[in-house]
Symmetry: D2
Subunit: 331 residues, 4 copies
Amino acid sequence: MKIALIGAGRIGKVHALSISQHPDAILSAVADFHTPAAEALAAEHGTRVLSADAIFADGDIDAVLIASSTPTHADYLEQAARAGKAILCEKPIALDLARTRDALQVLEANPVTCALGFNRRHDPQFAALKQALVEGRIGDLETLTIISRDPSPPPAEYVGISGGIFRDMTIHDFDMARWLLDEPITHVHAEGSCLIDPAIGEAGDVDTAMVTLTTASGRLCHISNSRRACYGYDQRIEAFGSAGMLQTQNESETRLRFTGEPGQVEEKPKWFFLERYAEAYSREIGDFVDAWKQGHTPLAGAIDGLEALRLAEAAERSLKEGRRIALDDIH
Amino acid sequence: MKIALIGAGRIGKVHALSISQHPDAILSAVADFHTPAAEALAAEHGTRVLSADAIFADGDIDAVLIASSTPTHADYLEQAARAGKAILCEKPIALDLARTRDALQVLEANPVTCALGFNRRHDPQFAALKQALVEGRIGDLETLTIISRDPSPPPAEYVGISGGIFRDMTIHDFDMARWLLDEPITHVHAEGSCLIDPAIGEAGDVDTAMVTLTTASGRLCHISNSRRACYGYDQRIEAFGSAGMLQTQNESETRLRFTGEPGQVEEKPKWFFLERYAEAYSREIGDFVDAWKQGHTPLAGAIDGLEALRLAEAAERSLKEGRRIALDDIH
Amino acid sequence: MKIALIGAGRIGKVHALSISQHPDAILSAVADFHTPAAEALAAEHGTRVLSADAIFADGDIDAVLIASSTPTHADYLEQAARAGKAILCEKPIALDLARTRDALQVLEANPVTCALGFNRRHDPQFAALKQALVEGRIGDLETLTIISRDPSPPPAEYVGISGGIFRDMTIHDFDMARWLLDEPITHVHAEGSCLIDPAIGEAGDVDTAMVTLTTASGRLCHISNSRRACYGYDQRIEAFGSAGMLQTQNESETRLRFTGEPGQVEEKPKWFFLERYAEAYSREIGDFVDAWKQGHTPLAGAIDGLEALRLAEAAERSLKEGRRIALDDIH
Amino acid sequence: MKIALIGAGRIGKVHALSISQHPDAILSAVADFHTPAAEALAAEHGTRVLSADAIFADGDIDAVLIASSTPTHADYLEQAARAGKAILCEKPIALDLARTRDALQVLEANPVTCALGFNRRHDPQFAALKQALVEGRIGDLETLTIISRDPSPPPAEYVGISGGIFRDMTIHDFDMARWLLDEPITHVHAEGSCLIDPAIGEAGDVDTAMVTLTTASGRLCHISNSRRACYGYDQRIEAFGSAGMLQTQNESETRLRFTGEPGQVEEKPKWFFLERYAEAYSREIGDFVDAWKQGHTPLAGAIDGLEALRLAEAAERSLKEGRRIALDDIH
């Protein structure tokens, strides 16, 4: 599978490495508005630099991995779909529902394999949790608790263009919730505070949030977010059901344990998503290649991006209005 | 300290044992509507049976431990206060705010040492968590997560007289939240479902609930309840702050670990509160005796019962009305 | 059961408390060469002071708990046996085999219930390990690993009268090995070094030791000792077999976990045997009372003291001669 | 660095993959007595098949990775050294000391970069343990405990040609002990039994062993081996010192935890060395490439193979003679 990469930034580099290590994938070209970045990455992987337009025009290229800045995602996605390329697009497609729906319509009209970069679905631990749920390990799922904390807050200027914590950060947790709850979410309630950086509050956002989701059958889901966990990236899920409980645990570099002052000490969790989800990014490329070759649906697709965004909209509205929002009211 | 016990049921027996093992406490008498129960317990501890009235009239008795059925608490508490006895009263004082407030007025008019049976404050692990918070171990507290699940649901007939899950079960978590958050709670949001036993729903209650509390400074607290955890009593608290996180863990009989089929296996958590909080009940008596002897305030008092009940009221109203409730609206 | 206590020192106090809390035991008298110590302990438990001779002469006393200094154990044990008292004797009976055998002969001639204070057999975790072995949880036991480290070394002057590390400290591990291996031990190999305190070496002893035991069927057992573990009392056993592995873990005051600098931190193990084996001491009294009342053999008896001492002798000889010793050669 | 691989079996495949993923290494050729194996592996990595002779003759090849069968190691190593190739040789160089010494002489006469495949030194967890020791995290190292158990025993026919458990299996633990103890080992004592498969005993070997090592300064080291741990590959090290203890833990596929029947369950350890040491094999290639490029000594070299073999010889002799062996007596 010949894959062209658009976007040679931090996450683009991760994908370039994963592509180059996949036995059935070839990094066919790299594009970036900032040409030196494209050139450096292309050189590192022994491939060429192309413009985005040239990529879409090149009949030899099978797929496009869109890892450019968020505002460009929807346009590139539509161009790629029209060019008949398979697509792996970093989330989100867009920060608003209307633009996202437009892109989905283009995909509908131009059916290609389209995967969305909800990387956590590919994480071995979360995948094992999902598998155990499917196998009925805990009987009927009743409640879900998602802890999701970043190691350090983004600069306030980023907050302004991020779309807010629910679209920027919680969006991953909404996707996890949808994937694991496995039935329609009907209501959303959100609380939020600005406890870490006043500049975030001045930018109109919160840095600490708690969201409660309710499903059609009455399952309850709690999401707890913070923009700053001084000890690293805190990513845990607890699924509770009629026959037991499943819990994922944070991962650390090694399991070495020291006993002495000040106690029994193990390493802090891995610092951030590049370390924590390294394996997930690699598996994401594998899933994309498999989906394209075998014609099945990728683990996360464009519709999942739309639905997670609806939950983010509902949470934002709940926080503003101080009440629980019915998801049916989010169009 | 000569303590008379009113109520020779399950929890009365626990208190009788704690009193008899405390070096400075004497179990001076036992009362129970059901005389054979009082007689058996009195015999076991080598003490006498008295009526409640006789207890209040006996000038030699220093204190009364009220462990009778909930509807009798407020009356006994008032009688004891008027008789000038120190009081350790099992929670709740009453299931409604008006009756509770009346009892508090009697206490105000008759100032005696009065402790309320919020046993969890005396648990070594939660006490160590509180101590670490006070010492600033995690900097500024930002969020609190309380998981609280009973091993098995009560019979539906009990549900009808229990006052509902928030007054009956979450009340302990509300007290933990108040104690650990250590500042005014301003808003309450609750979601609930009946997922375990339809009879509970028919009795007008839920068996699965999630509550979100907000404090004056913006701290957020999540409480997750279930009436049935097949693996035992699930009681955990996670406190997250600017400088780290503190987590309590469930306790089990022993820490023996088996590795083989089906994996690395440790024991299930202790089954229910009598096992889990055995040490807490013992320390509760110790705190009560100390408070009386040294004239200081017990770790949990009558006002804590009132305030926890207000939170329960707010949660119930939130669940009914599908919106967030300002605690100021609960009188 | 009316029990008289001989020896009002550190361990005597522990036993006095356990006796007073046991529903079927009464602390009938306390004796100690140092009268003020006996008086203080007797006063604390509301009992009387007697001389050892008076205890043996008092027909109303059922049992004697010998917790005096080691050199007096054998004499008191013999006197108690001749007086027909049930006996719970702190280990060791004596530091040499000949004196121990003599005492056993007296016991044979005067058959009374006689328990030896190998407290670890009564520890809930080790008892659960034993139970799991008996139930075949790990199939055939193949190897046993015993880690046993004291928090801090004894003063060198004590070392001189202690009988050496194998008789004084490893003796407990030899008893655990015998109890868990559950078949004749045939060979002993020991290595030892003085790494902690040169004064211990000058007193002719080692402070760090490793012993290997071999059983008749070829099971292997490793014992690792140190006189100083800066983090507390390190007491762990790992049993490995054809169907799995069982491991005990150190215990700490609470299971509170902190995550932050310098990592994920749990408390250090409990500091020493009084904390770690508090429950074991209490159960030891329970087992003694039961054995006496029901006429069965206590969990650890005088013969277990003799056999553990033979292993200590073999280890000492092995260390001196730099070779493996057949236990048959230790008479 | 152009590396030719001799040996296309199980471990050869692992190395081929590591080489192909290393940015500075190229898999230049593959050789194997069994030509189809060489052809398949070469095809998979897009390289050519060469005979061993052709490899040594090819001036363009920088290095040879010897992963063929044990009896061929020493010959290939000598040929490679004489051809001036850098060498990464799987352990052991040979099963006897004389042949090993001959190979070392050839290396001395033909100084090339020569790494020996003691993969565990490259494991992240053991490397972190070593680093912590070097940094003095536990003060002075006093004792070392190495648990090393294979998941299932080799076929008895393999046992016959393996050189015995000490040369075949414990050899890795001897290397770990040497690396971590970091001072001369002076004495070796070994015990062994045949508890798993009588055919192993008939082949003159043991399947369960315990070895005790003593160093010049009196440090003690215990090694515990079994040929069968039903739950997977059990590889743990505990280092104990004056200021604390360091423990590595087994690794599992994920850290997912289930609570329910039969308890709190985490996954079994990874099954065998290919899974457990996957990262170590990759780092081993990295260390080899770095050593060659920068002219420094690899983490494990030929001399380490010789010294570990001397310990194996001593252990074998100790087991046979039932006594402790001075390492000076092993020539």
